[in-house]
């Protein structure tokens, strides 16, 4: 398990993503790594860019493996504006290019690539948990 507090987080997306990806909990398989990296990027970006209105704030991130080493859990925590990214409606994938909105695909991709994504608001903090079976 690794855990780190980043404060401030402004312009730190790259650093936070690399910290998580370098965790010993992340499997070596490049195909799983791709999915994990993408899911981390989309969710970290959300917090760094939108959680704090003035752009100043902290974020605590961690990775953890269960005892059997079969399930990876990544947790992102911040004290920004309460926001549940999972409430966002899934994009309409059938629209032609002209009608597709720019953006709105990040969390959708994360949900597709992870086995479980959950959100809670605890003690004044947004807590987003990503879970991936890596067996």
């Amino acid at each position: 398990m690794v855990k780190k507090l980043f404060n401030p987080i402004k312009d730190k997306s790259g650093e936070i993503i690399e910290f998580l990806m370098s965790s010993p909990d992340i499997p070596a398989d490049s195909s799983i790594q791709f999915k994990i990296r993408l899911s981390i990027e989309e969710t970290v970006e959300n917090v760094v860019n939108y959680a704090y209105q003035d752009g100043v704030g902290w974020m605590e991130v961690s990775t953890d493996l269960d005892d059997k080493g079969l399930q990876l859990t990544i947790t992102l925590k911040d004290a920004g504006t309460p926001f549940n990214p999972l409430e966002r409606e899934d994009p309409d994938l059938t629209l032609p290019a002209e009608e597709r909105p720019i953006g709105g695909l990040g969390i959708f991709l994360c949900k597709q690539f992870m086995d479980k994504v959950s959100y809670s608001y605890e003690n004044g903090c947004n807590v987003l948990t990503l879970q991936k079976n890596i067996a």
Binding site: S13, I17, S31, E42, A97, E98, R100, I102, L105, F108
Partner: protein, 101 residues
Amino acid sequence: MDVTIKKEGTKTMVTLQGRLDTTNADLFQQDIAELMQDEHPNIEFDCTDMEYTSSQGLRLFLMLQKRVNAKKGSLVLRHMRPQVKEVFDITGFSNIFKIED
């Protein structure tokens, strides 16, 4: 990520190398903005060495495709790696873009 843009007659060849993500999307946006200047876009991307794209990259590709459609031009993405292709498949972008080997 490295982006190389070359004019070959009326065609613009773009070669992508590395990861397209939040750390370099701003730079890629400048390249896309340049491609969007073209009044008769005929653009081909070589994605052989494009290792990764997040939604940051997708939004820029979509911006370019919208512009190309508006100008009745052509945009082809070639030699996409399976994992990158999966991102295009999941988001329905495979139906929007011309993806070829």
